[in-house]
Amino acid sequence: MSVAAAATVKLYVPGDASALSVGADAVAAAIVMQAANRDIAIQLVRNGTRGMSWLEPLVEVETAAGRVAYGPVEEADVAELFAAGLLQGGSDHPLYLGSTAAIPFFKAQQRLTFARCGLIDPLSLDDYQHHEGFAGLTRALNMSQQQIVDEVKTSGLRGRGGAAFPTGIKWQTVLDVAGKKSQQKYIVCNADEGDSGTFADRMLMEGDPFTLIEGMIIAGLGVDATQGYIYLRSEYPHAQRILQAAIDKAYAAGYLGSNICGSDKCFELELRMGAGAYICGEETSMLESLEGKRGMVRFKPPLPALEGLFGQPTVVNNVISLATVPVIFSKGADHYKNFGQGKSRGTLTIQLAGNVKHGGLLELAFGVSLCELLEKYAAGTCTGKPVRSVQVGGPLGAYLPASQWHTPLDYEAFAAIGAMLGHGGVVVFDDSVDMAQQAQFAMQFCAIESCGKCTPCRIGAVRGAETLAKIRRNEDREANLILLEDLCDTMTEGSLCALGGLTPNPVRSALHHFPQDFGGDAAQVGGTPHA
């Protein structure tokens, strides 16, 4: 007989794709085995990630004093951890980290959108409800459509996908489309998170999927849309499994379908997969793809808000934008608005990635500087070499040199230096990086992923990669540098969408800030830095 009345110990091992990629399943299995060998009852929760990726797999145990963390744990460490008193939160082990909430990287954050991520079992509706889940929806169900849209406007929320368009104004446009009763409106969630250095959407969908579903339902109620789609990239099969399971549970519990929480209101939600096309993260291309077509970019106007999916009024929002809606409704727009600065209200989910000692996801009010991120949070590079360049905002974002790292993370401050925050991805490179190679890669990537509809992007990217190859070979350098500048102008001014239009960002910033990598000095490379 096992020891009577011993309370079941609750342990957490993340089931997030990132944790799995570094062995979380093996760690979980080892924990179950060790507990069984010792005849101890445990409850093992596969939570989302806390966002401290360098500590993954991060094992947590619930104690009277809160959750205690150990990491990064390998399978081979588990027996030793048990011997060191893991189940009591014992501190006598090198992997002991103390209280999870007190880890400086985590403690300094302002978690609103990601408040539940890593805390709860992602697929437990009970857990979700116990952590204020569906409180926002309950409130929205008692509001008029205009009140719902006004609440989002008041919050100051701007699209977190990169373009930073005010979400409330987009919703208002869709709400205002003079409605024939039969007119179908849509909510489309853009989960085609293709930018390198970004993973916030994935972490949220895997760690707290009901938040996204709740946000989409509220959006549907607000603009009178009864059908929603999540367009998820095919590179995220793990997120697909979790999201689909969450959607099924939300249907079974009456949060989705024709009678939301007994209110007679309706919202249907379907998960659709992409098929490996970066361009489908562009909203009109994504709509084409959802219609079952080639992901070719559309001309704008008409705006998707007026003529979007299947030609109908459509709200297209990023995962993080929609997943932020529930907290705006549960805590109030004013509460949300009090975070941030200037026109950048609320919090930004920053993804620290690449060559960093401490990488992962941070949710902070707008305004933190890159310097602070690199020093306080990233704690330097993983390789231990000095940081040379930081790319912010994905593959279309500028490469920033040390002289620009004081810039606060704020949409306007970044625009002022010719850079962009995008989806909040920060990729760090040490001093071994060849910036000319990075510039050439930017053009190559654009050539591979161009939808081919407009010439500046389709041909310009190919010619750009060729021209950069010539410059790197020192072939007719000066003439080719002039040609490259000209090509960048054409792409910037003449491309139909952001892919061709923004590819010159990484190219020019690399060229202007790191001219020595292109075989010349600053004066030779010349040109005025683009602003």
Binding site: S18, G197, G274, G276, G292, L352, C382
Partner: protein
């Protein structure tokens, strides 16, 4: 895919599978992409000779179906190798040594990206971001994501593939 089956039976089975999938999807708005992904999930790829059936089933032109198949990187038109290896080539992984992993993989298999090794066992594919950028560099082997992949770890993954293939 077993080669022992007679070609004729095989074709009938294929057509039946495709027809069943068409039935499942034909009422769905924008059905073509979900249908193609399901065909690929069940049959491994979407062969050019199935285009007419799919076009017919969804009341589309063959050109429309071909256009969609050729647009998306993940839709394959030839039978896959037994093992599928993806190496992330995007910036975050570059900053952590992905280019060395590319070289290692290409030398080990003796092929370039988007090719199948001479023994027909392994296909090597580039991928542009797997969303694991804080545990870079990343690769996938047969759909399983691996993070913090050193050259040694990648060599180990290839050893496991080779050991499995010999059996």
């Amino acid at each position: 895919m077993t080669m022992s089956q007679t070609r004729a039976t095989h074709d009938v089975d294929l057509q039946q599978t495709i027809q069943q999938l068409i039935q499942q999807h034909c009422e769905q708005p924008g059905a073509l992409l979900p249908l193609l992904l399901d065909v690929q999930a069940q049959l491994g790829f979407v062969a050019p000779e199935w285009v007419a059936t799919i076009a017919d089933g969804l009341n589309l032109s063959r050109a429309e179906v071909h256009g969609v198949i050729s647009f998306y990187h993940h839709i394959k038109t030839t039978a896959p190798a037994r093992h599928h290896v993806q190496i992330c080539r995007a910036e975050a992984c570059q900053s952590m040594g992905a280019r060395q992993l590319e070289t290692l993989a290409q030398q080990r298999l003796g092929i370039d990206f988007n090719e199948i090794s001479a023994d027909g066992e392994v296909e090597l594919e580039p991928v542009y971001c797997l969303g694991n950028c804080a545990c870079a560099p990343s690769v996938t082997v047969d759909g399983v994501l691996h993070g913090r992949v050193s050259e040694q770890k990648l060599a180990g993954l290839f050893d496991i593939i080779a050991a499995g293939s010999e059996r």
